[in-house]
Amino acid sequence: MMDFTEEQLERYSRHILLEEVGVEGQEKLLSAKVLIVGAGGLGAPVSLYLAAAGVGTIGIVDNDVVDLSNLQRQVVHFHKDINVAKVESAKEKMLAINPDLVVKTYKKYLCADNIREIIKDYDFVVEGTDNFPAKFLINDACVMEGIPFSHGGILRFDGQAMTVVPGESSCYRCTFRNPPPPDAVPTCSQAGVLGAIAGMLGTIQATEALKYIIGVGDLLTDTLLSFDAKKMHFRKVKLQRQDDCPICGKNPTITELVDAEQAVCSI
């Protein structure tokens, strides 16, 4: 058994008290490595809650700097952080909550060329990106590396999440075969988003990551959870693995990663 310090026992007491977490579950969290892709609306609550939970190694990827228009929903960044790299701003807050952690920052865009090398050392990936090429790239790379991940997306008053365990559950491409044409779906910067729903969805993703690490409950695998915050309607749609999925099906046609037409690196 890991030797907890008195401070750790007090810090994590509300986890240890849970029958489903306990000492063993907290040990798993402290040994776990989670990569957060995107330090924006979703990455903000994810990074704060994973840091607070004591996930021992947290990686965070984002190439942007903090902009004034981010602060309406990206609660890990403060007014003083405008023009600071988002990954550095997020790292500062995570370590301020919990100095126990190792935080690794990647100030870059994930591309076909670099993604597998970055994700391969992590146990779980949380995808909180703002564009479809990145979502498909992360799905494909995680399937190839066999790394479970949480997909999340928000727009206006709506959010959706699903969890993929490669080899066991349906992947993002089983359901959404290809990225939509550029401009078919507006981005948050065009359509707007109610700030608080980033918290609603990001905390769902953080919960999925923690559940996976601890090994408790049922994940959002083979399930698309979506909500309409205007009516506070939540809905779950059952999904199935597709034999003809081009990445996780019986005869995969995607055998190497390529950047989508709307290159992730150029966004």
Partner: protein, 80 residues
């Protein structure tokens, strides 16, 4: 040892309130094998009224409890 039955480990939680007394107890239990017995010393009042029930909810077995001369309680817990 307060109780005649043998225990494999002892944790003194005198002066430790809820819920940290339960946290310390769970940490000690995590070090034991299933079937081993832990003696825990708990204060009178909320600690003795709450901790044994919480342990039973996690399927551990309370083999006995007795009040000590100073008013604290000794409980014997068999790990699930």
């Amino acid at each position: 040892m307060a109780q005649s039955r043998k225990s494999d480990a002892v944790r003194n939680c005198r002066g430790v309130g809820c819920p940290m007394n339960l946290v310390y107890t769970k940490v000690e239990l995590a070090k034991l094998e299933s079937g081993q017995v832990l003696e825990v010393i708990l204060d009178d009042g909320p600690p003795i009224n709450n901790v044994p029930g919480s342990l039973e909810r996690e399927k551990h077995i309370i083999l006995g409890k007795e009040q000590l001369a100073d008013g604290a309680w000794s409980i014997l817990v068999k790990k699930a």
